[in-house]
Amino acid sequence: MSAEAPHVKGGLGQSILRKEDARFIRGKGNYVDDIKLPGMLYLDITRSPYAHAKITAIRTEKALKVPGVLAVITGKDLAAANLAWMPTLMSDKQMVLPTDTVMYQAQEVAAVVADSRYAAADGAAAVEVDYEPLPVVTNPFKALEPGAPVIRTDRKEQSNHIWHWETGDKAGTEEAFRSAEVVVGQDLYIPRIHVSSMETCGCIAHMDSVSGRFTIYMTTQAPHAIRTVYALVTGLPEQNIRVVSPDIGGGFGGKVPVYPGYVLASVASIKTGHPVKWVEDRSENLQADSFARDYHIHAEVAARKDGTVTALKVKTLADHGYTDAAANPSKFPAGLFHIITGSYPFAKAFVEVDAAYTNKPPGGIAYRCSFRVTEAVYTIERMMDILAHRLKVDPAELRLKNFIPPDAFPYKSALGWTYDSGNYAGALKKAMEIIDYAGLRREQAEKRRRGELMGIGISSFTEIVGAGPSHTFDILGLKMFDSAEVRIHPTGKVIARFGTKSQGQGHETTYAQILAEELGIPADDIRVEEGDTDTAPYGLGTYASRSTPTAGAAASMAARKIREKAKKIAAHLLEVSPDDIEWKDYAFRVKGVPTKSKTMQDVAFAAYTNHPQGTEAGLEAVDYYDPPNMTYPFGSYICVVDIDKETGQVKVRRFVAVDDCGTIINPMIVDGQIHGGLTMGFAPALLEEIQYDENGNIHGGSFMEYLVPTAVETPHWETAKTVTPSPHHPIGAKGVGESATVGAPPAIANAVVDALQPYGVEHIDIPIHPWKVWQIIHAGAPKTG
């Protein structure tokens, strides 16, 4: 920005420092476990060692003898209050505590309330439970075989099949495949992974029996939705429920669901009249909180010999664990999986998904992505590479040949999405230039001659975020709008409240920047608040990169409503007609006489001290923004890997990420979001996975086995941008928190597979462990060509 150009301090496009940091760097953040209320009790949970078993007895005597233990809650107690089961967002139901059967290892079996954290832990260890093991099913294919043990005997279907969903033109797609010149197909498994935000989940529930007020401090990404769900489930009057989402130590989707622990703490508080704190351990978090992915995908692409793609066919089996508790607010059971046509103009496509129950905890939450978008992007970007391999063309060339061209937007995909804007070739070409793609290919050819293994992988993803238009998105009927309430004080300072909830994204800063831009008030003078349902306007929360597309848009719209009114006051102050006033360069100016002007601060003071007759005093507005469409961020990533032939170890040497998230509010924060997202894309590509053995024992249930990347193996990310604004968002922004998590895994997988081309492989399932690479290298001598 040139020094001359008019700007407001902290407006759009400026890398201002974050307002929230002041407390975090002093250790003065206020996370749920930091809150201590007078008279607070602690809750700990006894969990099942079995993945599937009948509970024949629960003995609480020993636990109750532990000094400090006050009560033990079991499923029977909850059943009496009709609270043993709770509804999920997917019209399924989930146990709070089992009355007779546990369905996954580490499932909650009993809750112990004590006067200290340590006593609660001792009590939980002292609860004695007798189990009768039942046959375990952890493989969803086996779960659907005839004669498989039925997990959910409570359902009238008496089957492990949950639902079938399909979309697209089946007949047309089949026809396109029949006439295709080339068809490639591949099975891809995307394993279970866990968001592992550094803060685990927890709450403090407090029922004040005198006032009837129920307050819950809770690690939730969606406080308002929780309040309404609580009101509906418990029957407590909604005005008496207050949900406070304090500082959140990372969410990434894992803090959207309602977990049994929250309900147990609530019940314990209602029963005891004391505040009750429950904070889970990391192992509980990894073993029992909702998971992401677990999709078994078969994909086929039809193309012409020249590489032009024509049709896509995908058949998927989704493993949901013992209940479908997906945190998916769309009307599609597989979320937005049908973004799977990606950046390419497939004329025909057909997608079908079946969902199965297994003896695992609930799956189906996001892992820093919109609902099932990562699965979709991984599939299509891997398939494009497989096609390139089969046709012996360069994967960059194949993509450039096929991309939906910039002039085709808004573009309607074969599966029904209307992409708002894009310039896919622009992003890929920029990435190729930064990384010197041609040079890398030369280096690779050279190394191949010497027998060294180096690979280059591309991913040109299209995201779909910003849930969302109310016709398609709701949580139990609550439409997926979001909100901003903006109030300008007499001195021209602002307080703004939102229905979303930051978990590290920096809303206190970026929302202030949007408002600064719209109101001409420096961001420093704008205070942003979220997370307290008593004060914030109703909203659906923060996940799926929806905050900027929805609440960010609401901020703009609320500010513009304020400007409408302010214009009248300015006209009054300038003694001209409102029609003669324009908002230009951050002030109300008399048309043609730009020096005659009033700032928003002038107007604000007047709004309380000198408002014109016939106008209400005050200067504030609320906006509930229901976006007309989703936004479609995109980008192209290029990854370079080197492989140690003897050990199979993969090292990411370089990774260039070119992102396009439309208008950029704060470049520093956007880059930070991309760095973090890339790392959460790197993780499942090379390190993270949760497995279950045939007895349903979890592998990866603690940080000992669940390998979150450290600074050492995480690449030094290189980032760049193109800017293609969203035509329907008030400031053209698209949302960026998750693009990189979605885009990175296929770039890395493609690079590894590319490095192993001499061995003729077309696919390796992620995470790509050293031993998998070693097995390929040692399976046979390199083929020539």
């Binding site: 002093r26 201590k36 109750l64 990391r282 520093m668 600074a711």
Partner: protein, 184 residues
Amino acid sequence: MAVSARPIAPAASLSTRSAPVVRIQVTVNGSPISAEVEPRTLLVHFLREVVGLTGTHIGCDTSHCGACTVHLDGKPVKSCTVLAVQANGRQVRTVEGLEVDGKLSAVQEAFVEAHGLQCGFCTPGMMMTATALLARNPNPTEPEVRDAIRGNLCRCTGYVNIVKAIQLAGKKMQANPTGPGGSP
């Protein structure tokens, strides 16, 4: 709900009342703190719940994440894997001890300026490790920084800006060793 015969009342401290306790004295951020604790009390719980300094966080139960990092006699350690009794008679410095006389340390300043934090949960531990690193090596290379923080996990930032922040803090210290933020 099965209820114990005892009246429901919270305990005075972390420990259950009947367990044997030992008296310890720990100097926390320069102030001597004396308290009775159960031997099994973890230092992190002592700091958070007895001393009331909640800036030191708990991110795991297997000593992997480093959210709980504090200095014990000047060296960074994982306070979830130290017993409070082990700190008896010793010096502990926490994130709350980084700011001195209202002046942020170089590391604190640099974390803000380089956007080295997002959700802030790993940040106190990360800054304590960084502070110890810079005290030994004020001009670390990127690989040295990355190696030094390998016991501190961050889920939000992807580390790039944390590395930058630590290197920036080193430069600040060297440029102005006695000024605001001059100490690590």
